[in-house]
């Protein structure tokens, strides 16, 4: 990639005069449209921020909604001093972190087995993993609802209306994708590396922990970020399976408790939405390259 960039950079600039003028115009137009698209893409989050800094009186005043005359942090103070909101935040955090740990344990080990230690049916299983990734949660929530009732009848374990149920459910959404990414990363590691380790007498577990995990670390980071983002953002399962306010996770909590009937306290809703969006955004800001690598790996590798 770097080679071609260098080669073209050297060849286009000195030779063709008209082409470089074309390029300047293409560049100007590109920047112009990029600014337009950036406005479109960033408008909602910016408007969230603007609204969250306003008082209710200012929000309902009939004047320029894009301008803040008296910025205030009152919405943040109100929300963060509410016990309820902190409970949502805690539920979401525990669920997401547990799901990340469970997902990575299951998928890294399984991906290693599928990519390197072919066994009977492993190719079918790899395809199966990908197929499961394509099965949406909108297809599964109704049968799961019924299955939970059945579990309660037979084993006496109530899965409904508990935030920790999400720790059991979310891996169905994250494990297939994480496994798929990891199969891709593991498959790209040269076979000589693990053959050498095996000949030196390493066990399979040692090969995994001493060679594959360190070498495929970028992939593991990408899968971790992805898993966290999915777990944090999941909306349908908690909406279907939890109802008490103490059991809600953040996205559902904000939507069901801050919207009361027809009364919309938009300042607080936007503050909540922004705080709910913050953890994935912060992680993304710091680990953007891994995030993007993981995103493209899902479709280009394997």
């Amino acid at each position: 990639m770097a080679n071609t960039a260098v080669a073209t950079g050297a060849s286009t600039r000195p030779n063709y005069g008209s082409m470089s003028r074309d390029r300047t115009w293409a560049l100007r137009w590109s920047y112009f449209f990029l600014v337009l698209f950036a406005i479109f893409f960033l408008m909602p989050p910016i408007y969230m921020l603007i609204t969250s800094l306003k008082t209710s009186a200012e929000i309902s005043a009939a004047k320029n909604p894009w301008f803040i005359s008296n910025p205030t942090l009152q919405n943040y103070i109100d929300l963060l001093s509410q016990n309820q909101f902190l409970v949502f935040f805690r539920n979401s955090a525990i669920v997401s972190i547990c799901v990340v740990i469970i997902t990575m344990m299951i998928s890294v080990i399984a991906a290693f087995a599928l990519a390197r230690m072919k066994f009977w049916g492993s190719a079918t299983l790899a395809t199966g993993v990908f197929l499961t990734y394509l099965i949406p949660e909108t297809l599964l929530f109704i049968p799961l609802f019924k299955m939970f009732a059945w579990v309660n009848e037979v084993f006496g374990v109530q899965l409904m209306n508990h935030w920790w149920t999400m720790i059991i459910l979310y891996p169905t959404l994250t494990v297939p994708f994480a496994t798929w990414i990891m199969i891709g990363y593991f498959a790209s590691i040269p076979k000589e590396l693990d053959e050498a380790a095996l000949i030196d007498g390493a066990t399979w577990m040692q090969t995994l922990t001493k060679i594959f995990i360190p070498v495929a670390l970028p992939g593991i980071i990408a899968a971790t970020i992805f898993t966290f983002t999915v777990a944090w953002a999941q909306f349908l399962y908690p909406l279907a399976f939890t109802t008490s306010t103490s059991e809600l996770v953040l996205p559902v909590g904000i939507i069901t408790t801050l919207i009361k009937g027809d009364v919309f306290n938009w300042g607080q809703i936007m503050t909540g939405a922004l705080l709910g969006a913050a953890p994935p955004l912060i992680i993304y800001a710091f680990l953007m390259d891994y995030y993007i690598a993981g995103l493209t790996a899902g479709a280009t590798k394997g």
Partner: protein
């Protein structure tokens, strides 16, 4: 792995044969055990519920009696159902087309600018994809608010009258698609940008020496080179969009008058909120045909590429 198995006996023909045999057996056992949590998870929480949905769909409302295709017949006789079918297809197809176009165009612009600025722009443009959809849809709901709409305020500057974004059926359909396009096109942009970078620069040079216009370069060089990734991203997004829930649920909750319900949200309304689990299961099963077709094409592409490597 097959190499080792083949090479080892050649190196030490006599002493290791039985040991190797044992190792092979042990290896596949270990491998199976390592994949076991994955297998259990998929079987119990994905494959079983998916099959169970089919069974549930054949029961009556109280889940006491087998009614065969009764639920499906009931659905076929209801106008709302056909409205949902229409809206689901309209929503998914229109949204995917626009996401693909916008993603393609934006990817080109990002690809055009100098390499050192690309990272910053790419990072900024991917933000909609990173925010949890339920949260960003709330922001859109507020932008679309009937009385305080900040979008209408902007439009008023250009002399355009207030638009009933979520209040009127046609506009509500437009709005849910708009939000979906907003969330999804950054993903297309990233995929297409990665694909654009893999097109060899020499092809463009050859094309411009042959006097190709920019349009011909896109049509005869870029598009054929990116065909695979364009197809797979679009099919993939078709599945996700078709099975969408968050956006419609938060923005319109299916209204006005069920005009924006898609399969996922209507199944939720009927099955969970309406308490008719079998009917909800029947509704959600209608997603399967389209999902299966898209999945087949994706799988074919992946196995094809797998065999090329």
């Amino acid at each position: 792995m097959a190499d080792i198995a083949a090479r080892n006996p050649a190196g030490h023909p006599t002493q290791q044969r039985s040991g190797l045999h044992k190792l092979m057996q042990r290896k596949s056992t270990i491998a199976f055990l390592m994949a076991l949590p994955l297998i259990l998870l998929i079987t119990i929480l994905v494959a079983y519920p998916a099959g169970y949905a089919v069974y549930l769909a054949t029961l009556n409302k109280g889940m006491t009696r087998f009614v065969g295709f009764g639920n499906f017949e009931f659905l076929f006789g209801r106008d709302t159902f056909w409205l949902v079918v229409y809206q689901s297809c309209l929503f998914a197809i229109t949204a995917v087309i626009f996401k693909a176009i916008i993603g393609f165009v934006v990817a080109h612009f990002v690809h055009n600018i100098p390499a050192k600025g690309q990272r910053k722009w790419r990072g900024m443009l991917l933000v909609p994809w990173v925010i949890p959809p339920a949260m960003s849809t709330l922001a859109w709901l507020w932008l679309f608010d009937p009385s305080y709409s900040a979008l209408n305020w902007l439009l008023a500057i250009f002399g355009i009258e207030g638009i009933p974004w979520t209040g009127e059926a046609g506009w509500a359909r437009f709005s849910v698609i708009l939000v979906n396009v907003w969330i999804g096109s950054p993903f297309f942009m990233i995929m297409y940008l990665a694909a654009l970078k893999s097109v060899p620069e020499q092809l463009y040079e050859a094309a411009s020496i042959d006097g190709a216009t920019w349009w011909q370069r896109i049509w005869y060089v870029t598009l054929p080179m990116m065909r695979n990734i364009i197809a797979i991203t679009a099919l993939f997004s078709l599945i996700v969009t078709f099975a969408n829930f968050d956006i419609v649920r938060v923005l319109t909750a299916g209204g006005p008058l069920n005009s924006t319900h898609i399969f996922g949200t209507w199944a939720f309304r009927v099955g969970i909120e309406g308490g008719d689990i079998p009917l909800g299961a029947a509704v959600s099963l209608f997603m399967v045909p389209i999902l299966a077709v898209a999945a087949t094409f994706i799988l074919r592409d992946i196995t094809k590429r797998g065999s090329e490597v």
